[in-house]
Assembly symmetry: D3
Homo-oligomer: 316 residues x 6
């Protein structure tokens, strides 16, 4: 069975060419993205044995998602549905001073009715790690329940539970998010939270390390990783705090950077067990992701090592 199992929604992403607008572009490129599958792909490419669980419609759109993830070495265990939709989102890349825009069209996606009974939960129980994010419980009440059950059962089965808060203002309000997430966090062993989300959702305004400590104390996590964008990340554990700066990156496509961080972190943590090494690996994976189109971190261990080693020259 896999070392790392993830569960969540994966969407198709439609993007106009650079400099063009959704209103007028005649062609859209198609990508596949979702927080939990992005994490699985990054970890898989970096050597992890990973699986992704989800529920998809049995159309070319749903099958495309399965095949795309399979191509990256992720084991997919899908509940195929004749009901519901394939969620999509539109990404219109910006450029200073024009912000990037995201338009979701994910209502009634097939996954919104997914229950523990139909999912391959035995894979979770048998894995080292189970990962999902705050996007999943935001998608439907059914999924909020399912997420709670999966996290609780995983922890009970001895599987390390990993969770990224990933607050999305287009999916729910801070108040509803806080209420739902507060019920889930006690079942989480390893928490990733952006400093911005800690403030927006939980009202935590302290410095990142202190925020990490607060979460750890409140919910009993083993590890809390607080990310703060260009400033890097800090991991808080029983043994203390570890800081990791971000690597500079020329950004081609920022989507999926946080997922690449988590995927890189987990791949390394599962392989070596060192927080310092995992943070560095995650930060390098995230920086590489920014140089690539699409939501997925199509990187290699050698590339991550080169970033960490500071070697980025052209060898002709």
């Amino acid at each position: 069975m896999s070392e790392l199992v993830t569960f969540g929604e994966t969407m198709l992403r439609y993007t106009p060419p650079p400099g063009e607008r959704l209103e007028t572009a005649d062609d859209l490129s198609v990508d596949v993205g979702g927080a939990e599958s992005n994490v699985a792909v990054a970890a898989s490419r970096l050597g992890g044995d990973t699986a992704w669980l989800s529920k998809l419609v049995d159309t070319p759109l749903g099958r495309r998602i399965k095949r795309t993830l399979g191509a990256q070495g992720v084991t997919t265990d899908i509940v195929w549905s004749d009901e519901g939709r394939q969620g999509v989102y539109y990404f219109e890349p910006g450029g200073e001073p024009r912000g990037s825009d995201v338009y979701y069209d994910r209502t009634d996606a097939a996954i919104t009715t997914a229950t523990p009974a139909e999912l391959a939960t035995r894979r979770i129980d048998a894995a080292n790690c189970f990962y999902t994010s705050g996007i999943t419980p935001a998608l439907s009440e059914t999924l909020a329940d399912t997420t709670a059950t999966l996290l609780g059962n995983a922890q009970a089965a001895g599987t390390t539970t990993v969770f990224d808060v990933n607050y999305r203002s287009k999916l729910w309000s801070p108040e509803v998010a806080r209420e739902t997430l507060s019920g889930l966090l006690p079942s989480v062993d390893v928490l990733f939270v952006a400093a911005r989300d800690a403030e927006t959702v939980f009202g935590r305004t302290a410095a990142p390390q202190a925020v990490g400590q607060e979460f750890k104390e409140t919910y009993g996590h083993d590890i809390v990783v607080v990310t703060h964008g260009e400033h890097g990340a800090v991991a808080v554990t029983e043994a203390g705090a570890v800081e990791q700066p971000a690597f500079d990156a020329e950004t081609i496509d920022p989507v999926g950077t946080g997922d690449a961080f988590v995927g890189g972190f987990l791949a390394q943590y599962l392989a070596e067990g060192s927080i310092e090494g995992a943070l560095e690996y995650g930060a390098a994976t995230a920086a590489l992701k920014r140089t690539l189109d699409g939501d997925m971190a199509l990187v290699s261990p050698a590339e991550v090592a080169a970033v960490i080693g500071g070697d980025n020259g052209l060898t002709r």
Copy 2:
């Protein structure tokens, strides 16, 4: 005010390149299509003064539809909505022996909640013609009611009502379609119906001309045009029946052929009033449409005249 007003749903169409599959294509082309706006575009390009009424979401996707139709000279009078979705569909072109495939993703489109009270019905009352199709009442119960009201009021206002049966098996069953449409048809002055739909929905299996006569007698239409694909069309009126063969065409994209027929028919009928001329004009417009990508008949009066005149040579 416009001579011809149409009402209905318009979708975005996403199409992979020729020979590629939805499952694997990395780019999708974007088109705009809907039976009622296709009719308005064809009629507008052929000289008609047309308007299209609908309800759209106020996003780049919805605005794209308004702008695309506006570029073709169609006056758009839109109810902008913050609720509902922009409907889309996927078209995977086939080739013998592989059929083309269509995947709808139009559930909960903004238009499904459109009521007569919010629509610009004064445009309908002031027009010569009002057109909608059997797709519209199939989309929601609200729209079935709205369609009935619009047709009834238009007829009462002295506007000629035009209706194309346009049966879509992915939207409703023949039984439900028959029940709903039977209630609408008495309000229809000019009916277009494919011989195939006459059989599937209404169980009419006679020859096209006889089918036309049957509809005319049953529902009191002034004109019934029965189309039978490659075999052409026949119009039945009080004055008798007129046959029109189809023009040969090298098909690049078949979608919208029927709408081009109706649009060409109406443009000519409104301008000249002759059934023979309108049928010929419609058939030529339909043939031209088949040679062009997209749902809309981007043709000119000169091109239609050239087809009718049998002149299709290259002049260099």
Copy 3:
């Protein structure tokens, strides 16, 4: 009738892909651009009711221009011609240290024979504002006369006349430009002039605010806006001078930046009447334009407001 009417030449623009050369590129992208239609498009998208007058050849090239502007909500009132050409220009984007290049192919464009008698001048008389630029009189002697007549008649009809000097060294010499423009400027109520053009054409080398004051005194303008590129703009009126810095922008395509500034300025000025607000709106529109391909500022009021408000973050 429209609040803002513009008159001028609009060309097709052919551009090779980034990093490729006109000499070797196998595909050219097609855009539509002209100072006066760019202003109309920007103002229309930002809420203004605008019209564009011109003379075009009745070919797909000419019709394309009409349709493209119509899609952006601009009312087009065109003199269709069987004589003359559709002007085009080639834009080869540069990158330090290679300058961008522009190659005009606009000789004998249909508009070069346009006279007041054939143009829809009633639209000008009925509008709040009439806009044209120094490019128009540079195109032919006929157009120099036409421009003078239109400005004079507009002013006489109580329509505010707006003019952008827009000196183009490939069209005429500074000496000829000065002579012609000097005859036009007394009919101009609101003048836009780049500091660089003020120097090249009129020999004005003072600081921007002083240059604005000099023009105001010499020609009797109500408002003079002097733009000086990255340094921003200054507006001089009876009430004094108002400075507006430029917003930082990541430039995808610089063409049309000045027109976006004018279009944004006018949209806001017509709506609110404040010079400060109009300058800020113009500067934000200009900055947004730089992030988009093509000559037209395909922006929205919400985006302009976000730039002014300093909000350019990605919300996912």
Copy 4:
């Protein structure tokens, strides 16, 4: 373990756009193709549990091949090599009277040194079927030996051995081919041979059915399927001969048609065991392949069933 295991070389295919030449095209599309992986892909998509064994260079080119096949559900068991090349071929599509052209650049591909000792032969022994083709022994002497060993051992292990003659004049002469293949054929249970190859390589000029009978008698095959292009195929077994006509097809890309036939045949034969059904399934899969770009038959069981059932209409 898999029902069907295949072994052979898979190349990258570079193709210019339709109507363009290799000499001048500025872009080449990239596909993945090889007789044995094509068979595996077709069988996998049609429900078979398949695996592909090969030897690849550990570069993005080699990894692309593994990932592309993995996306189609094929289990890949690869010997990764630091020596040798990734074979590629160039395909220039023709059109009457210009023939299509193929340029191989496959010398010294990594697979040319593959030996049984390094390959995952346990997968072959545990499978129902093992498939390779006459291309494999043509690539190197080592591969000729390896092919002989794999076929012999598979047969000894009770795995049904399947072989397609697939003669390629650019790889070897008829004389050398005949000598090598004659040594392999006694180890083959199910043989596919084109009538053209039977004549060129083995001098068999009888009618297809007779040719099949001759091979069966000479080499002791259980099944011989003789294909003769547009005329269809005939299978000869102990129980007699079964004819199968080809389905008409609009050809977008003919490459891989034969492999699709074999893949469809085997998928159905493994599932149902009927020669008639397998031939029909193979012929339908081959016809569908012709309508799709690329070497792989990206088809579904429903599409194959529709071809067999004669249903190829557009349902909108």
Copy 5:
């Protein structure tokens, strides 16, 4: 010096993608075409030593033409001009029943002022053959004079003069064409004329062979080749008439077919001297051209030989 020298205008051709319209296509492909350079390119690729004389503007557009022809082995001897334009034309491919359309934008091209004094006429005098077509004298009065002078001087210098009537109704009327061409034809040794042009311009309505005989007698040509499209061509010489049927071809792009015929004819005639061989070679080159995008016949001697030999199969 070259065996074959040609003189004429070469344009850029802009073409929308298949199925798209000039009015709406966002990208245009760029090709280089002109009757006389097309002939030079075909002859050069088929082994002839060719040169092309012309007058071009010294911009990237003009230089592109020189470089494109140079890439095909044609020696270019250009008068570079700062005056005049680069002619372009737009080609909108049709499909039954929609005819292809051509829009010229070639007025005031630099070549329209070309005089014998500035052209490299020594190359003509030293060559075996000089070729130009009826398009050249149609472009301007200056060019009509220049064409007459070049043909006369060439013939006087012992160079075989070759001329293709190439009537273009968009350039001049039949009457003017007849008057001008009648003055040129006595200086022509080898004439190519389409049966259609013989009728339209010269009122010759006899069968092709008789038309050829009439021209021969009237103007004293050594060889007259009358082409009649799908029906092939007939050459009339002192020795009698030779018929050549056209080869069937799947047409991707018909433009330049006639020029390919002439280029193939001349390459073979210069090399071998046989009328029969030259006709066959020309017909095969023309058929191959139809399968390729663009105006130029990018073919090889081997491909021409394969068409003549009836070998058009795919060898993989």
Copy 6:
């Protein structure tokens, strides 16, 4: 005969779109590049009369190279071969912190067997300059011998020999490179060497000017140009040292920058004879190259002059 003759391998370069990976990109752009042909192209476009000698396979791939260079005005004198391959390389553009990657697939290229006896060495003897680089002798033992012979004979014939060390770690080790190159350098009149290569291959760690002096003294060169990337270059001659800073450049594609420098240097040096002028010209050409896609410096003398003159503004 030509002023400058170069000899070396030219490859096809395949590049995925920006932001995409070789592993997944569906299209690759095709370029033509090789150190020695890049130098010839740059010099040719800047006014030099240049020729390129090489050995190519007689396929569309080989012919493409000849035609592409011919289009840039380079005389090509090719040994056509039926043996060997056309070398290709893959370029995957990076972005901080991801380095660009190059994958060679050039083993057994046709040129690897090229001998002086088959090459057009008379062109070298008759030229002012002969150029090759350290890549050539690295490709095969035969080529190492050929390079030595060509350099020695050229020098003996009075042709100035020019050599760029161009060390490639993927082709040979520093030790082997040093041994081979040490034997060649005494035959070199003008040496270009990157400071990095001087250290890696020759262990020279002094400042660039001192390194230049060391080479000059050791091998007797007339001119040594030591380049050190962003820091510029220094030329050491009998008359002393000349420094040249690099021009700032926005890099679209860095490949071929060094070759553009040499090509620009030689074009100017052959025309004017000044070291200072040649260095400046080379640096400007190199900077321009960085703004353009592909290996070749598709620049003009006017653009080089503009960079030197500091004029890089857009003139519209």
